[in-house]
Assembly symmetry: C2
Homo-oligomer: 192 residues x 2
DNA sequence: AAAAAACATTGACCGAAATCAATTAAATGT
DNA sequence: ACATTTAATTGATTTCGGTCAATGTTTTTT
């Protein structure tokens, strides 16, 4: 169990078998069905979720009821409302499953215990956020500096698996576009 | 020397005087004049810069020669091309000074030495990126979900000091707008 | 203090994305 | 297999931000 979790963990920082067994004790498995919420806006985010299998998204909903996708998470990715998790404030994002999924959950107390017994784990969490930060910076740079068509091409190159598995209107939302606009963009690209 | 640096450091994780003295040994002060580059696209980013005094920005330049501001850094903030710093790849961003500034520089080897002699420093760096990640996520969410006027209002509330000290066309660039558009937006808001 | 450079504003016009609406296609549940 | 919901496409129109150009203003340099 937790194969992918430990694989990804060891890719960043290598842990001994003993350390891994300690960590394993604090992990909680969870299966979640398509369309089911893992977190709803207003709740406090108690868990960080690692995706062993399946696909989830986080998104915010504005006053007009429009959804804005913040992040997708496929196998090997981690998803949460980190601000809520760290501060205990109510979450501003929703998280739900796009497919039936299998998760590995880590609560805050679990994380604290792991850190106590296995300080090396902090390096992992540091590298984890650093990676997330760099990925997001790239996305932001792309939004403010690239023309739409290039942005979409970069996206499909970077995340071909997401394009395969996620409905198009959600990709539009992730890119800050209306579904109609993405549909027309795709048509334009296809005609070339 | 380095007052603000140590103040900010201790706000995140508290260090003993001895630890601070160890860290201090690895820091390099640098003064930089307005308009001077700290980093140019194509160079490898060798240093992380903490701003003791002054103001800097990082930005990319697209094929058409348009500048896109990625980040501002006033007193107490840190600025670098983190991807280049970590990987040794050529930088994709430029960094220059918006005012005469005083910096505290940390090279990669300095950081590694600090971490060896003072493992607690890792917690500081972890909290540092975490904060940067959360700030950027907020910015991204705002870009994809808020109407322009709200976005500008949030910006001036969050960073009133930047509005005071930075030319308007750079704020426009940071928001992904043309200077003319921001000028008109401000007029519209003022007329209310 | 004068000259030059950088910055901000304003106007007229254009183009890209949003909106509104209708239709077709695909996925899901029973 | 059929009915229902969800998703994608297409068209007509509007809105918002970009472009181009001119003018005024402030800041910097000499």
């Amino acid at each position: 169990m937790y194969e992918l979790f430990f694989k990804k963990l060891n890719e960043k920082v290598s842990f001994t078998q003993e350390e891994q067994d300690i960590i394993r004790d604090y992990l909680t498995p969870k299966k979640i069905r398509k369309r089911q919420y893992l977190l709803q806006e207003g709740e406090v985010c108690k868990m960080i979720a690692f995706v062993e299998k399946g696909a989830l998204r986080s998104y915010s909903v504005d006053e007009k009821g429009n959804e804005h996708i913040i992040q997708f998470a496929l196998e090997g990715w981690t998803i949460s409302d980190l601000y809520s998790f760290l501060t205990g404030e109510p979450a501003t994002y929703n998280i739900d499953a796009l497919e039936d999924s299998e998760l590995v959950l880590i609560s805050k107390s679990a994380q604290e215990e792991i850190l106590k017994k296995c300080p090396k784990y902090e390096t992992y969490t540091r590298l984890q956020v650093t990676g997330a930060y760099l990925a997001m910076q790239k996305r932001l740079t792309s939004i403010i500096s690239q023309p739409l068509e290039e942005r979409y091409n970069s996206f499909i190159n970077l995340y071909p698996d997401i394009v395969q598995r996620v409905p198009q209107h959600m990709i539009a939302s992730y890119m800050g576009l209306k579904p109609e606009t993405l549909s027309r963009l795709r048509k334009k690209i296809a005609e070339k």
